[in-house]
Amino acid sequence: MSLNIDHVSVIYPAADGRPPVAALSEIDLTIAEGEFVVALGASGCGKSTLLNLIAGFLSPTTGSLTLEGRAVSGPGADRAVVFQKHALLPWLNVLDNVAFGLMLQGVGKEARTRTANDYIGLLGLDGFQNSPVYKLSGGMQQRVGIARALTCDPKVLLMDEPLGALDALTREKAQELILKIWGETGKSVFFITHSVEEALFMGTKLIVMSPRPGRITHRFDLPFSRQFQSGTPARKVKASPEFIALRETVLNIIFADEEALE
């Protein structure tokens, strides 16, 4: 099972006298089962466009996307999305937010409550089932969002800067939590971030993207999340010479891109 992106381009048509914009150009990417792919790049490099393509919110101008051999032709429950923010439903409590996807799919109340409670426990939200989501902290809201995405047992988890709005400490804890859950569920993940350190720590594969046109310029295979999973503490992983060297390499690429834009 895998997600295949084959020669995909997205060109926004000309508007208001401006020429057409190539948001994505000739993207080739495979996300294998259980792989954690992180996309990193300057703003405007098309990371979010790529995520919207995989989610099925956007159709490619040319090229094809297939999930397990079937063409992606719209949003579906096999690809769940975790958004940066504003995606929970404030009129529902934590339990009903987590069970929201199952409710939409017509799962009975008892069954969906049971499943939702499993994921609430997995994300460390036990005891908050009846809390209104708007009273939770940003970190807890994001965990509700992840639990909600997991309940429908998607094949791929799409995360659009899910930790971008969190403070630094909460963010590091959330990174470890996501890795733990990824290890336990074995999902494929496509993860967007602005943080080089986060990208290196979390992914098994890193794609660095460049703008105008949006394209993949570099690919790296990453060992660090596996090291963390086999028991090395996160801080130790992030302090290792290989990690620091790769961080500098990637930072150089990204700064060069930013400068080229100015």
Partner: protein, 294 residues
């Protein structure tokens, strides 16, 4: 490289630093528990109570000193006495509560009708460009016209009985309710909608479970605004061959220069409208406690 010093503020401002103008033009440090610089924060309840008491006192003082003739401004006690008299004996052979109930019936039947038609129509206009294209021109055309202007048409088309009265009030509420529901559709964040679709939701489910609940605050506000328009139109509606109702009471009393009845009627309308508004605010707190919080 040396940086030039920042430009000096004009000397006047510095001289007035501790003066009254500076104090008034800058926010003071807040008390603990408040947030610095939030516009208009603070409890107004007791100030409002004082404001009402002062107005009543001025009203009483002006009449007690005989500054204005009772024909123009009757005293508070004579308005109260009139209220007791009409409560006991009725007005033009109709009990007081019947005047109240017939007016309330007119306003609320128009309100329910406006909600039943206006809310679905507004939501449909928000959801569908076809519906918006069709219904936007007529609604925008009639919306700014004062109800008194099309009152004659209502009479010509629908006669002088209950239909034209309710319809006039209905029309005054209909536009704000439609527009409120229509703009409420935009309240849902695109992430919330995308989240629902990515769980495989149908368009109808997205409407029912995301767009409608997130439009609730605006819908409730639109209903509050709508019923306010309804009460303002009541008197105009009861100009038409009415023999009962609060608006009729005010109008016919004015023709006999019974100013105390006019003022009494105004107070009764205001109190009923205010009571309903309190109910709507209560509903708002119960139904959408999350309003503005996420």
């Amino acid at each position: 490289m040396t940086l030039s010093p920042p430009p000096k503020a004009p000397a006047k401002a510095a001289a007035n630093g501790a003066g009254i103008r500076a104090r008034l033009s800058r926010a003071r440090a807040t008390k603990p528990g408040e947030i610095y610089g939030v516009p208009g924060q603070g409890n107004t309840f007791w100030l409002s109570v004082a404001s009402v008491l002062v107005m009543l006192f001025v009203w009483w003082l002006v009449t007690a000193l005989g500054l204005v003739k009772p024909l123009f401004v009757p005293s508070p006690q004579s308005v109260l006495a009139k209220f007791v008299q009409i409560w006991n004996q009725g007005f033009t052979n109709t009990p007081f509560l019947e005047h109240v109930s017939i007016s309330t019936f007119r306003v609320f039947s128009a309100f329910i009708l406006a909600c039943l038609i206006g809310l679905p129509l507004g939501l449909a206009m928000g959801m569908s460009p076809v519906m918006r294209g069709i219904f936007d021109p007529p609604i925008e055309f009639y919306r700014p016209i004062p109800p008194l202007a099309y009152l004659p048409l209502m009479i010509i088309w629908f006669g002088i009985d209950e239909t034209s009265k309710v319809l006039l009030i209905f029309l005054s509420m209909f536009a704000p309710i439609v527009l409120g529901a229509r703009s409420g559709v935009k309240s849902a964040a695109i992430e919330q909608i995308h989240a629902a679709y990515s769980f495989g939701a149908t368009r109808w489910q997205v409407m029912r479970h995301v767009i409608l609940p997130s439009a609730m605050p605006e819908i409730l506000t639109a209903m509050r605004v709508g019923i306010g328009f309804g009460w303002t139109t009541l008197v105009a509606a009861e100009m038409v061959a009415a023999t009962k109702g609060l608006g009729y009471m005010v109008l016919s009393a004015s023709q006999f220069l019974q100013t105390s009845v006019v003022i009494m009627g105004i107070f009764v309308i205001a109190i009923i409208a205010f009571a309903f508004d309190l109910l709507m605010r209560f509903l708002e707190r119960r139904l959408v406690p999350w309003k503005g919080r996420m």
